[in-house]
Amino acid sequence: MNKLITRRESLKKIGKITAGITVSAGLFGPFSSILAHATTPETQPLKGWIVDGIGQQPGYSIKALTRKVFDAAGGMGKFISKGDVVVLKPNISWAQAPNLAVTTHPEVMEAVIELCQESGAKKVRIADNTIHDAGRCFAVTGAAGVAERTGADLVFPRSSMMKKMNLHGHRLDVWPVFTPFVEADKIINMPVAKVHGLSVLTLGMKNWIGGVGGRRSALHQDIHQSIVDLAQFFKPQLTLIDATRILTANGPSGGNISDVKVTNRLILSNDPVAADTLAAAQLFGKTPEDVPFIQLGNKWGLGSSDLDRLTRYSVSI
C-alpha cells in the first residue's frame, strides 16, 4: 500500500512516456548540468543560464517584465510542452498583503500562468503548503484572484495530499510530500526574496519547505542541509525569484512596510543554485559563503554558484 516512490522514479516514468519529445531539454536539463558539473573541469562553461530582469521605467508593468525575462530565456515554449501539467510553487505562506514582500507578487504569478497556458499546458496549478490558514493566505496574498482570473487550479493543502515518500536526502529520508509536485510534468519555483533568522535568506531552494508537510518546524535543526535535500528532491525546471520588492528585516513573516525595499528585479534560471547565488549577491550583497545552503547546493551538485560558468542574459524594461 504505502509504497514509497521517489521523485526520481516518477520522473523516470514520465521520461519513458514522453521520451523523444522536445521535453528532454527542459526535463533533463538539471540532470545534465549535474552530470556536466561532475565530469567537466571547474572552469568549463555549463549548460545553465540565468536571466536578470530589471524594471527601470517608473510604473513599468510587472507582467511585461515577466514575459520579457522568459523571452530572453528562449520563451516558455522551450520548457513547457503541449499537454503538460505545470505546477507553480509561489510563496503564499503568510496571510499578508502582497505589498509587504512576504509573498510572491500576484502579477508575476498571473504572467507565468498565462505564459504556460499560451505554451499549451493542459493544466496549471498553484500549490503551496501554507503556514497561515490556507483560505486566508489565498484571499489576502492575491492568489485567489489570480486563480479566478486565469482559471488556474489553486490546490488547498490538506493531509490527504501529503504522501509519505523517501526524499533520499543526506539528512532527510521519509517525509510527507505535497502530491501536486509529485504528479507534475513541470515545476516552476517562484519564491520571493526575504531575509530569514536562521537560513540568512529565503530564496528559491528554501521555498521547498512549502512543498512538504509533517514536522516542518523540526527542519530548522539542520536547516541548510534540509533545504538542499528538499531542493534536490523537487528539482524545479525553472526558478523565478520575485524581487520586484524584497523584505530586508523581520523576515520571513514581515508585516511592516518600512522593511520592504523596492528592487524591481526578476531572476530566472534553470539552475536553482545559480538563481539563489545571483539574488543573494545582487539584492542582499551576500556571497555563497554567507549563505551556507547555497554553498551546500553547489557542493552536492545541485547547481553552480559560479555564475561566470553560466550563460547570462540581462533584460530591462
Binding site: 498583503a97 484572484g145 488547498f156 493543502p157 490527504s160 518546524s217 513573516s253
Partner: protein, 544 residues
C-alpha cells in the same frame, strides 16, 4: 379535518426555517471564495488589506431568540442592539402563544421529526405519553434559573437555549464528527495506488469541504456536546418532543407569554366521541381533548389536534383573552427552586476568583473580548466564535474559565493560534461579549490576548540540543517580539554548536500563540502562552 392546509403551511414553515438554520450554520466560516483586491495595497502603502467578513446573516437565529436577548440584556444591564426580531417574536407570543415552537424553531422541528417519523409508541401508549404531566414544570425551573443567574451576572442562557444548543451541537460535534469519518475515508482513498480512487478522494474532499473543511476539526469536550445532543434526540422515543415539553427554557418563556393569547382552542363536547386522536397527535401534551382544560402554555400551535379530529369537535378561534380562567401552574417549587439555583450558580461559580481576584492563567479569550466579569455577563456559549475560527484555536472551555465559564471560548494554542491579521471571530458574537475589531485596531493598538514565555529546560537552543528559531520565524509582530542572544554550546563530544537563544520581548508580544503552535518540541511546547498581559484586564499584567 378542515385544518389540513394549515398543517401543510406549518410543515413548509418548519422546513424553511430548518433549512435556513442549517445553511446559515454552514455559512458561519471563513468565506471560501474571497477574492481581495490587492492593487490598492501597492498604491497606498498605509492601506491594510480589508477585513474578511461573513456577509450572510449568520446571527439571525440568535437575534430572533427572545431568551438570548432577555438573559443577555438582564445580565449585561445594557441595551444590546440587533435583537429586533427577538422582541417582535416575544410580542407576537403574547397573542399567538408558542407559535415559534411549532412553526419556526429548528430544534423543535428536529424533535418533531424524531418523534413523528416511525414513532416508537403505539396508539394507546402515545395517548398516555401525551397527557399533560408535572414534569413540564422543569422547564420553568430552568427558565427562572437562567433569568435569576442573569440578574446576578452570569449568562447561562445558551447552555439550554434551543437555538444555541442546536448550533453548538451541530457545529461542534455532529459536523466535526462526520468530518472525521469522511476525512478518514478520503485519506484511505488518497493513499491508494489506484489513480481513480485518488481522484475520487480529491473530488469528494472538494465537495465536502464547504461543510466539513479540508482537515479534521478538534473540539475539546466535543463528545459531551454530541452525547447530550443524541440523548435528547433519543428521549423523543419515550415522550414525543421531550425537550420542548420538559426542558426548553425558551418554550417556557413563550408559555408565560401565552397569557394574553387571542387564539383559543374551542372544544365541542357534544361532538366529541373521546376517540383520543387529538391527544395522540398533540405535540405539546396540552390536553386538547374536550372535557378537560386546554393548557395554553403547553400548546405548540402545531394544529394537529384540529386536523386529526374526525368529528370537527375542535376549532381554533380568535377571541378576546380570558385571563381569569387560565391558571398558571408554574409550580411554587419550580419558582423557588429556580430562584435559589439561579442565584447560587453565578455566586458559587465565581468563588474561584477567576473573574476578578486571580485571573486564570490558561484562560485566553478571543481578541476583542470584554473584561472577564462583563464577558461572563454577555457570553451565552453558543459556539459561533468557535465555529468561524479558521485555525480551530477557539475551544469550549472545560475548566480554564471555572464553573461559571463552562463552555465559554478559550484559545488552546497547541490546536491552533490566533492569526495576526484575522478578526473574523470579533465580527460574529451575537451578544457582544467579543467586541468587533478591525485588523487595524487589532494590530495597531495592539490588542493583546496574553503573552508567551520560554521554557528554557525544553527549548532546543537553551538546552543545548540544536539550533532552532521557529518561534522567532513565525512571530507576526514587526519588529518581532522574539529576539536572540548568540551563544556557543560545547557538546559532550567536544564539538561546538553555535545557537541563537530566544528571548520574549513582552512589550511587543501580543499572545497570539503561533510560536507555541509551531514549536517543534512536541508534548509540551518549549514556548507557551498564558493570559497575563491581556489588554482587556487591568490586573492581569506583567509589565509596569
Amino acid at each position: 379535518m378542515k385544518y389540513r392546509h394549515l398543517i401543510w403551511m406549518r410543515r413548509i414553515s418548519q422546513a424553511i426555517f430548518l433549512v435556513l438554520f442549517l445553511v446559515l450554520l454552514v455559512m458561519a466560516q471563513l468565506p471560501r471564495d474571497v477574492v481581495m483586491d490587492y492593487s490598492q495595497s501597492f498604491s497606498n502603502s498605509s492601506a491594510q488589506s480589508p477585513d474578511i467578513r461573513i456577509t450572510q446573516p449568520i446571527t439571525l437565529f440568535f437575534q430572533m431568540d427572545p431568551l438570548v436577548w432577555l438573559s443577555s440584556v438582564i445580565s449585561a444591564r445594557q441595551w444590546i442592539a440587533g435583537f429586533g426580531w427577538a422582541i417582535g417574536i416575544l410580542v407576537a407570543a403574547l397573542f399567538f402563544g408558542r407559535f415559534f415552537c411549532g412553526f419556526i424553531c429548528p430544534f423543535g422541528t428536529l424533535h418533531h421529526m424524531a418523534a413523528s417519523i416511525r414513532p416508537a409508541l403505539k396508539k394507546k401508549e402515545m395517548i398516555d405519553a401525551n397527557r399533560t404531566s408535572t414534569s413540564r414544570r422543569i422547564k420553568y425551573f430552568l427558565l427562572i434559573t437562567i433569568l435569576f443567574a442573569a440578574a446576578v451576572g452570569t449568562n447561562f442562557a445558551g447552555l439550554l437555549d434551543p437555538i444555541s444548543f442546536l448550533f453548538r451541537s451541530l457545529s461542534l460535534s455532529v459536523i466535526p464528527a462526520i468530518g472525521v469519518g469522511l476525512h478518514d475515508l478520503f485519506e484511505f482513498l488518497a493513499a491508494s495506488d489506484v489513480k481513480l480512487l485518488n481522484y475520487l478522494a480529491y473530488g469528494g474532499e472538494a465537495l465536502a469541504a464547504p461543510v466539513f473543511g479540508y482537515e479534521n476539526k478538534v473540539v475539546l469536550t466535543g463528545w459531551v456536546i454530541g452525547g447530550l445532543f443524541l440523548i435528547i434526540l433519543f428521549l423523543n422515543r419515550i415522550k414525543p418532543r421531550f425537550w420542548c415539553r420538559t426542558l426548553c427554557p425558551l418554550g417556557a418563556l413563550f408559555g408565560l407569554c401565552s397569557r394574553l393569547m387571542v387564539l383559543q382552542l374551542e372544544k365541542d363536547s357534544d361532538k366529541c366521541t373521546h376517540c383520543g386522536r387529538c391527544t395522540a397527535a398533540c405535540q405539546g401534551a396540552a390536553t386538547p381533548e374536550p372535557g378537560q382544560v386546554w393548557q395554553t402554555d403547553e400548546c405548540l400551535m402545531c394544529l394537529n389536534c384540529t386536523s386529526q379530529c374526525p368529528e370537527d369537535a375542535l376549532d381554533f378561534r380568535f377571541k378576546r383573552p380570558y385571563i381569569k380562567e387560565r391558571r398558571f401552574d408554574v409550580g411554587r417549587r419550580a419558582l423557588m427552586g429556580g430562584m435559589v439555583a439561579g442565584v447560587s450558580f453565578p455566586l458559587l461559580g465565581r468563588l474561584d476568583g477567576s473573574a476578578d481576584k486571580s485571573p486564570s492563567p490558561t484562560l485566553i479569550r478571543p481578541p476583542g473580548s470584554l473584561p472577564e466579569s462583563e464577558f461572563l455577563d454577555r457570553c451565552q456559549r453558543c459556539g459561533l466564535c468557535m465555529k468561524v475560527c479558521p485555525t480551530n484555536v477557539i475551544q469550549p472551555s472545560l475548566t480554564a474559565a471555572g464553573m461559571a465559564g463552562f463552555w465559554t471560548p478559550t484559545l488552546v494554542m497547541t490546536l491552533g493560534y490566533c492569526e495576526y491579521s484575522c478578526t473574523l471571530c470579533t465580527s460574529v458574537c451575537p451578544t457582544g461579549a467579543i467586541a468587533e475589531l478591525s485588523m487595524k485596531e487589532k494590530t495597531g493598538t495592539p490588542i493583546r490576548i496574553g503573552s508567551a514565555y520560554i521554557d528554557r529546560g525544553r527549548c532546543l537552543p537553551w538546552n543545548g540540543n540544536a539550533p532552532c528559531i521557529v518561534c522567532e520565524e513565525h512571530c507576526p509582530t514587526s519588529p518581532k517580539a522574539i529576539y536572540f542572544k548568540k551563544d556557543v554550546i560545547r557538546r559532550p563530544d567536544g564539538q561546538t554548536l553555535p545557537v541563537q537563544l530566544p528571548f520574549v520581548d513582552l512589550a511587543r508580544c501580543v499572545g497570539c500563540g503561533i510560536c507555541e503552535n509551531k514549536c517543534p518540541v512536541k508534548g509540551k511546547p518549549a514556548i507557551r502562552t498564558l493570559s497575563a498581559g491581556e489588554s482587556r484586564s487591568l490586573e492581569n499584567q506583567i509589565l509596569l
